[in-house]
């Protein structure tokens, strides 16, 4: 249910996560320049930024929805679509690139029949690319569900992702 001017602040769905988001905004005194911090928190709570959520934030921070949407779409970190249950990030930074990151990506794309930036139809796996994770010393690097794995080969990354899909870690 979309937020309208008539039902501000407390979200009608009764979803507890909104209360936590509300606390964050309060901490920043609903200042409009805290928008990025609030979006970070919202994405952490909800996993991605739904339109309804963006409107809610716009309303709370007294910003035009266009501004909130503009910021949310400008930064790569924010996702407006639901992600898969698991994510695999392949670093395409320079160090990883010269160590064959493109191969890792192609292998994963072929194995799971999805392209970078897509989520598998069953909603299990999202394949993402990144611009340097700061783990160049152990290039090529990937991140599987938040864990950075270095010195990857096509075989090791396939089995690592499989492990994650099969066992959830």
């Amino acid at each position: 249910m979309p937020i309208t001017k008539k039902n501000p602040k407390v979200h009608p769905s009764g979803d507890k996560r909104f209360r936590m988001l509300e606390a964050t905004m309060k901490r920043y005194q609903y200042a409009s320049d805290a928008l990025i911090e609030v979006l970070h928190q919202a994405q952490e709570l909800f996993g991605y930024l739904e339109e309804d959520l963006l409107l809610y934030i716009a309303h709370s921070l007294k910003l035009p929805p266009s501004r909130v949407y503009g910021v949310a779409t400008f930064y790569h970190f924010f996702s407006l679509k639901q992600k898969g249950a698991h994510t695999c990030v392949v670093c395409m930074g320079t160090a990883c690139y010269v160590k064959g990151a493109a191969n890792l990506l192609t292998t994963l794309e072929q194995q799971h029949h999805i392209k970078a930036g897509e989520t598998s139809p069953d909603g299990q796996l999202s394949l993402v690319t990144a611009r340097c994770l700061g783990a160049c010393g152990i290039a090529p690097a990937v991140v599987v569900d938040g864990n950075v794995e270095g010195h990857q080969t096509s075989e090791s990354v396939i089995s690592r992702v499989k492990e994650c899909l099969d066992h959830g870690y």
């Binding site: 320049d33 990025i36 910021v71 160090a95 010269v98 611009r131 783990a135 160049c136 152990i138």
Partner: protein, 545 residues
């Protein structure tokens, strides 16, 4: 907090240092290689060997040799162990207990120390550590260990013994230049911000910002400094704030660096608790507060005006300069913005003096530079060398050359704004001017080694794709130009281009360079220029005639 308390903490810490300590890297690459589990196993092994009272185990920051992690060093001897596994932990402790308690007659095969010993391997011996002096030595989550390493002495000195003018003067005399890329003289920047509002009646609000966005792919120096020694950056910022008359600071750190964010939060909290941040620091009239701002994944936000827009909660879009941030920055107020490594140099310069610092390095570039050595090279990791060290020494001696007997072809520095330096020019001493002359830039310090298997047109295309994706879209030359350049490079790469395409490529490069609004567009053609300059053959080889 006063100086007696500070010294008391330092003394207590230094007494602790006398004991045998097993230090285990628990940040960066070593963390990914299971460093935390290794540390836990070491702790268990120490307890099991009954050495609890004699030997301590500590988690520390980056020791530099990231590719060989997890790294463990036994101090005070300084023996280094690489690629330690949880199984090896007890062997390291066993080899130690032979020394610690002579009566122990363990028949255990002792675990072999690393071939890279800090006292004899060029990877370590060629280094001179200022910014990284505490990295890998102290626990980054413990402010007392930083204080034990002379931490916050510089801040005390400026607040109680120096005027803001003399601080600026010291930094100017040291010859320190910005480590964020362009190499602007730091003292001059500080002086400009300090001067604003000197005459009018009301002193304006000023800000100090630390640029920890580190967007260059292949660079991880700032990450490592923040993870390994966050207090150094905080102290540097506080000294800068005193010098320019600011009382609020921001650290803008990449969202991709969760551990750096975590360590910074801890460090700020601890500094506040000890009264090293907050009001009336060291019982002086100086107040200073630092807040963190987390980036959200946009390369252009490393550019200073875009970064400030981002702190204000807006899209990270640059604006034309002037006005420079020094006059009109964050929320229109005078703002000092420096890179992480720039700030990290400051406490040591204050403690050891401008002359000490300016004795290191070359005529125009003083001090040291941290490089992240990566790519096709044996020893990848972080190194800090005096300015003027040659690429040959960095790549071949410290880096150990290309693995499997390969040959280095080029080193890429400066990320997407930089260029590729061919092996023939490896004897050039590295400083700001010499790299610019070679058609690259110092940049933030990423140094990526490429070997014979790397195709240079691919490299140019790779960086152009990066700039195309990261262009904020505000100005046409950058938004549309990078797309055209990318398509031209693709056409060349696929062998479908002819000589007129090559001409078009060069012409368009010049256009984008001279007409773009910000540094991103202005420098986007650099990788193309430098590969054309040194590796034109590879382009010509792909051209159909």
């Amino acid at each position: 907090m006063d100086i007696e308390e500070l010294n008391a903490i330092a003394q207590r810490e230094n007494q602790k240092q006398q004991k045998t300590c097993i230090r285990c890297c628990t940040v960066g690459g070593c963390l990914s290689a299971n460093g935390l589990a290794v540390k836990e196993h070491l702790e268990e092994a120490v307890t099991a060997a009954g050495l609890g009272g004699k030997v301590s185990v500590a988690g520390v920051g980056c020791m530099g040799l990231c590719s060989q992690g997890p790294l463990v060093r036994v101090d005070p001897e300084g023996t280094l162990y690489d690629r330690v596994t949880t199984d090896n932990a007890s062997e390291i402790v066993a080899s130690l207990s032979n020394n610690v308690s002579a009566m122990d007659e363990l028949s255990l095969k002792t675990y072999p120390a690393s071939q890279y010993q800090p006292h004899n391997h060029p990877f370590f011996t060629r280094q001179l550590k200022i910014v990284l002096e505490n990295s890998g030595k102290i626990d980054p989550e413990n402010i007392e260990e930083y204080i034990g390493a002379d931490g916050y002495q510089g801040l005390y000195k400026v607040l109680r013994e120096m005027t803001p003018e003399s601080v600026v003067e010291t930094i100017t005399r040291s010859g320190l230049r910005g480590r964020g890329g362009a190499g602007y003289p730091t003292g001059l920047k500080w002086a400009t911000v300090a001067k604003v509002g000197e005459t009018p009646r009301s002193v304006p609000q000023k800000f100090v910002i630390c640029n920890a966005d580190e967007g260059d792919p292949g660079a991880f120096m700032d990450r490592s400094v923040l993870e390994s020694d966050p207090h150094r950056v905080i102290e540097g910022m506080a000294i800068a704030a005193y010098a320019v008359g600011a009382n609020q600071g921001y650290i803008y750190v990449r969202g991709e660096y969760p551990l750096a964010i975590n360590h910074l939060q801890t460090a700020i909290r601890q500094a506040k608790r000890l009264g090293l941040l907050g009001s009336q620091i060291f019982e002086s009239p100086f107040d200073f507060k630092i807040d963190l701002r987390i980036g959200a994944g946009a390369f252009v936000c490393g550019e200073e005006t875009a970064l400030m827009a981002s702190i204000e909660g807006k899209r990270g879009i640059p604006r034309p300069r002037p006005p420079y941030p020094a006059e009109s920055g964050l929320w229109g107020c005078p703002t000092l913005i420096n890179n992480v490594e720039t700030f990290a140099n400051v406490p040591t310069i204050i403690r050891k003096g401008a002359d000490w610092f300016s004795n290191i390095g070359t005529e125009t570039s003083k001090g040291t530079k941290v490089f992240s050595l990566a790519g096709k090279v044996c020893n990848t990791g972080l190194i800090e060398v005096p300015m003027g060290t040659t690429l040959q020494q960095i790549v071949e001696e410290m880096g150990g050359g290309v693995p499997d007997g390969g040959k280095a072809k080029a080193v890429q520095t400066g990320g997407p704004s930089g260029g590729c330096i061919p092996a023939a020019a490896f004897d050039t001493p590295v400083d700001y001017e010499s790299l610019t002359k070679l058609g690259s830039i110092m940049g933030s310090g990423g140094a990526i080694v490429m070997d014979e298997s790397t195709n240079m047109v691919d490299v140019a295309r790779f960086f152009m794709e990066f700039c195309m994706d990261e262009s904020c879209g505000k100005c046409v030359p950058c938004r549309a130009g990078t797309v055209q350049l990318y398509q031209l490079l693709t056409k060349i790469r696929e062998g479908k281009a002819d000589l007129t395409d090559l001409e078009k490529l060069e012409e368009l490069c010049h256009m984008v360079k001279y007409t773009s609004l910000c540094g991103l567009g202005q420098s986007a053609p650099n990788p193309v220029f430098s590969t054309l300059r040194y590796f034109r053959d590879e382009y010509l080889g792909l051209i159909s005639t």
